[in-house]
Amino acid sequence: MASTIVTPGQRLGYAQDFTAGSGTYERDGLLYASVVGVKKVLKDATSHLETITIVREKEQSAVPSVGSMITGKITKVNPRFASVSINVVDSTPCREDFQGVIRVQDVRATERDKVKIYNSFRPGDIVRAQVISLGDARSYYLSTAQNELGVIFAKSVAGETMIPVSWQEMQCPKTKVIEYRKCAKPF
């Protein structure tokens, strides 16, 4: 039996034989399904019991959590923070964008007091950042204070894709103008 479709309330087995995974619940010593999906029985290395999980058809959208790496686009900047529209969490695209902010003190790890947002990000840049806090009701708090974090793609004033020349400079291949960004170290 490879996989079968189960519907909510369907009995899956005895609670003593299996561990309840996601999409299941336990009641009166029995395991039941709570969502529609395909039943999967997984061998667990740590315990001798097998785990039953229900794989749902529509996977829930990726939601940022503290510590996850996100990729997003800078939407606006002001002297205190840059707003980011989060498109990808870890490596899963979000169904809808989340709002995040990179505050001026979270742009880099050193010389935080000398950071200027205008010399770090511009609207339209694609950045990689880490979620440091779930933030306020409106937005997640993000940080780029690591070498691998920062701008990964940016266009110059002339509209060309710029090439990073140092960790805080990018150069336009057409006009050779140097613009300032908090660049991500390639890896």
């Binding site: 909510p8 309330g9 619940y25 009641r27 529609v36």
Partner: protein
């Protein structure tokens, strides 16, 4: 007798059904692109559209529950749903007894919007069934399906799934919603008088109807999920 003959001597009803027969049920899920889950159900000529949004952030801070989600049900009857076109009648809300595992979504809100497109008796049962299907479509964890059915009593004969004509001719109507797999009763409502001797047979007929509806809805859900199984088998 001036009264309409609701039950012929042969035991057939006005629409030709037998007393213990349901109306034809057509159910569809994922009918709306915008909603997280949606369903459309037809029980005879009663047509209901349900849309589920959420779990999402609570709109009004005041209402946040820190250990579970709040469920907001909005019920609306289209003005064109009855034979005489009416301006908006009562906009009543009822808790339809849907069994959700709301503790999984603390501080969030689940919105259920119900729209009656055509009213031909048994709106409450159709709404409950539509909401169940929409919640399943949205993938919200539930204890079980919630299936609802009505039963009434015409000339001391228990009848299943009353239509508008039977409903409006002073016959009592009992709506029952159950969790079919455990047989637990979630809701039982009646807005008229019924002799207590008849209650048991009417309630058991309604429960039987719920189980039939469960079979139908379960088949629809399995049918619409078939492609998922196929895609995983590859």
């Amino acid at each position: 007798m001036s009264r309409l003959e609701l039950l012929t001597p042969e035991g057939l009803r006005v629409d030709g059904r037998r007393p213990n027969e349901l109306r034809k049920i057509i159910a569809k899920t994922s009918v709306l692109a915008q909603a997280d889950g949606s369903a459309y159900i037809e029980q005879g000529n009663t047509k209901v559209l349900a849309a589920v949004y959420g779990p999402q952030e609570v709109r009004h801070r005041m209402q946040i529950l820190h250990d579970r989600a709040i469920i907001n049900v909005e019920f609306n009857v289209a003005p064109f749903s009855t034979s005489e076109r009416k301006k908006r009648s009562k906009n009543d809300k009822y808790d339809n007894g849907i069994k959700l595992q709301t503790s999984q979504f603390p501080r969030s809100q689940i919105d259920i919007y119900l729209q009656v497109l055509q009213h031909d008796g048994g709106t409450l049962q159709a709404c409950i069934n539509a909401a169940t299907m929409a919640l399943i479509d949205a993938g919200i964890p539930m204890i079980d399906y919630v299936c609802a059915s009505t039963a009434g009593c015409i000339d001391k004969q228990p009848v299943l799934d009353l239509n508008y004509l039977e409903e409006s001719s002073d016959s009592p109507e009992l709506t029952v919603a159950i969790l079919p797999r455990t047989g637990k009763v979630n809701l039982m409502s009646m807005e008229s008088r019924l002799h207590v001797d008849m209650l048991e047979s009417v309630a058991s007929l309604a429960t039987e109807g719920c189980e039939q509806i469960h079979t139908i809805l379960d088949a629809v859900v399995r049918d619409t999920t078939q492609h998922l199984k196929d895609s995983l088998m590859q």
